[in-house]
Symmetry: C2
Subunit: 455 residues, 2 copies
């Protein structure tokens, strides 16, 4: 028979088993945190009718979409979780209670140029809260609190969530009479950190034709820094000149004010007037996240407030606020940087039973007892030499081997061997289960990420 060389498509992450366990631990952690905040966990189809998925039409994304014919159907794979959410909410609006809070962790597809660290199939982990007509600003304050909680539980501490408000920006540009070029200005301001204020100043004047005074006003505004209280105080100096600005400032103030109650330390949450998140979708609060040690990877978690989730599918006004974590890329970077934690258990089992007798029934009974006691147990059924059995246990990374020979069986016990220390104890099944639970309590729930301390 001819052999087809096996391969995995480029841009598709396929992990070895132990690494997969760490990825799964990240997903599990996110699910647990999201669940604590009260969200319905949705699972929508990977595929939609193209006319539905692409109702908004146009845009950069469209070229990247996996779109194809099957029979009479023109189908597309989802490229994010937001459009399917919009469809879902519009379709089921009469059966949902608003505010509708949903989380979804799932794969999305974009046929991007293949490139190191870029994926064509990747996970997004989204939370959104959708209101019916109105949605309180407190929802905007809760989002970064959830992300803070989630990132902390993942094992990250060296990050900061940056927040801004689009109304504040739009209002500010209106004050300067620059409403029409606000989009282009935001694009330039977004480069501030990368190219510095001098070059932005030059570009504002030379490329966009702003007066030196206008450019200077923008750079002064963007230079407002300090504690969140300091920034908000400085922004108060602009109050009363534009209604949209004032509304944005009120919203930003409300978001900041509630974050302490949500348990978010000020060090992890920073008002940053330079961020704007794209141009036409977000209408109020916007978020970005930065890993302090890896600013070059951009924002692993972003989002914001939008006025109308599903305008392509329904007349109903559905404002919302949401945040999305780009999980596959985040995992890839953490792995590249060697930040996946060796503490977290990644073995398929906690105990590997090694039967040393021909009759395997005692091993099966021991396994059944250990499993009933909640211990993840595998039996090594194959006939091999002891050395090969131990080599297998090592390769799996199981923390314990349970050696079961004539003598142990006669005593109704098992020799439980700690694979890390080599220590061995003769125990009953119940005692073995207790010993395993006691030894693994930390490793079972260890955060999947372990940061290096900064130099």
């Amino acid at each position: 028979m001819p052999i087809q060389k096996p391969r995995t498509l480029s841009g598709f992450m396929e992990l070895l088993p132990q690494k997969q366990a760490l990825f799964d631990a990240m997903v599990e952690t996110l699910r647990e945190v999201y669940a604590l905040y009260g969200f319905f966990d949705l699972d929508t189809p990977l595929m939609e009718a193209s006319e539905v998925l692409l109702a908004k039409g146009g845009g950069e994304t469209e070229k990247q979409i996996y779109r194809f014919q099957k029979g009479d159907n023109d189908l597309s794979l989802r490229f994010d979780l937001t459009v399917p959410l919009a469809k879902y909410v519009a379709l089921h609006q009469n059966e949902l209670a608003f505010p509708f809070r949903r989380c979804q962790i799932g794969k999305v597809y974009r046929g991007e140029r293949a490139q190191r660290g870029r994926f064509r199939e990747f996970y997004q982990a989204d939370i959104d809260v959708i209101g019916d007509g109105k949605l309180d600003i407190l929802n905007d304050a809760e989002m970064p609190a959830i992300i803070h909680h989630a990132f902390t539980r993942l094992g990250l501490t060296r990050f900061v969530i940056r927040v801004n408000n689009r109304k504040l920006l739009n209002g500010f540009y209106a004050m300067l009479g620059l409403t029409d070029s606000a989009g282009e200005i935001m694009r330039l301001v977004d480069k501030l950190e990368k190219i510095g204020p001098e070059k932005v100043d030059a570009a504002l004047r030379e490329d966009l034709g702003l007066s030196p005074a206008q450019a200077g006003d923008i750079l002064s505004f963007m230079a407002i820094q300090g504690s969140n209280a300091d920034v908000l105080a400085a922004l108060e100096g602009y109050r009363g000149r534009d209604g949209t600005f004032d509304q944005g400032l009120d919203e930003l103030g409300a978001v900041c004010r509630h974050l302490a109650a949500f348990g978010v330390p000020e060090a992890r949450f920073q008002v940053d007037l330079t961020i704007a998140r794209g141009l036409d979708y977000y209408t109020g609060t916007v978020y970005e996240t930065r890993l302090l040690d890896y600013p070059e990877i951009g924002s692993p978690c972003s989002g914001g407030r939008y006025d109308n989730l599903a305008e392509y599918y329904t007349e109903k006004q559905l404002p919302g606020v949401g945040i999305s974590i780009g999980l596959t890329r985040l995992f890839y970077v953490l792995d590249e940087q060697g930040l996946l934690s060796p503490e977290r258990l990644t073995a398929p089992a906690e105990v590997l039973i090694l039967p040393m007798t021909g009759d395997q029934a005692p091993a099966v009974e021991l396994a059944t007892a250990l499993r009933a006691a909640g211990v993840r147990t595998q039996i090594y059924f194959e006939e091999k030499k002891f050395k090969q059995k131990m080599a297998y246990a090592d390769k799996l990374g199981v923390p314990f081997a349970a050696i079961l020979g004539e003598e142990e069986i006669a005593q109704g016990k098992v020799a439980l061997k700690d694979m890390a220390t080599g220590a061995q104890e003769l125990l009953t099944a119940q005692q073995a289960a207790q010993a395993v639970h006691a030894a693994l309590v930390d490793r079972r729930s260890a955060a999947p990420i372990r940061e290096r301390k900064p130099d």
Copy 2:
């Protein structure tokens, strides 16, 4: 703006939130049980290069495959989890430890004729154990034990796992000199239950040209019934006439012998000589499952032993044994039959905090305390009348509302209202968390399925 009518593709299951929670509970239960037996949990791409996925070529499935071009790539969506496993094991064989035990719960795609209860996107929940060159028969005994454990935890009791052995069948047909027509005979025998022995007898003679003696021998063989011990004893009467038969009987005996040690009651596990599971893939033990009250839906869980998992991708001999649950269809049937359990919690939160004051900070602090104590908590941030807030709590199905007015805040307490009984208590956050944990201990872990007792 023109409105695109939202819709979900036919053949794609998209659940309302509460029902989704029950589906997720089934997935979660399967994951927990699989984990207890020691499997790596894989997550392979949804998509593969067509030349890789379809290396085996031909067959009924090929017409159903979602296959398309993207740029220069000829791509296909996976139609099961076994072919991607074969590719994975062949590709990563040098990094894996054998026996390689993997579970995978994921979506697969088949463009079947749209039909009630048939899905084009559906979940399979698979476990497989792959050996390197050899694999002990005890692995075949463990599979139905895992399924028994999983189904029991799902809340099912009225099912039976049926087992047979292809070597036994092949050996038996060889005894009759019918090796060449064994495949056609098995197809006919498979209809025994549906059309009865007379019609099978007639078809064996008339359609396949068997002698009355041969047809009679087959029907006598297939009529062997009784306890597993009875069936095995009757089969002993055929021993010594064909080596393959004898080997099959040894294997079947070993599987039956170990099931008690695995904790499987005999009532849930039945040797059934009439099942064969398709024709060319399985080579030894085969499994089917039957829901006693819904035989018409076929086998929600099937599998068996195969000699060579990845012959299309590698020269390495990789025998294995596996079982697959068709989860989407099973869920659909259970839902249709009204067997999803109302006991299991499906609300997005366990406590909904209803702030009765303008300042929401005390509500946020209460929520933070409840979440820290492990209670899934949502705050109702919107300004609405009390009645509307309670209607929202009802619609979500939250078991508790936490009412927080001036008076409660002044006392550092909250009025915790049991939504089912209407009972209300004034408690601290810690007391409220304890009350919620105590009240929900059963509902949190309730089996997702509740069978009706048979008449």
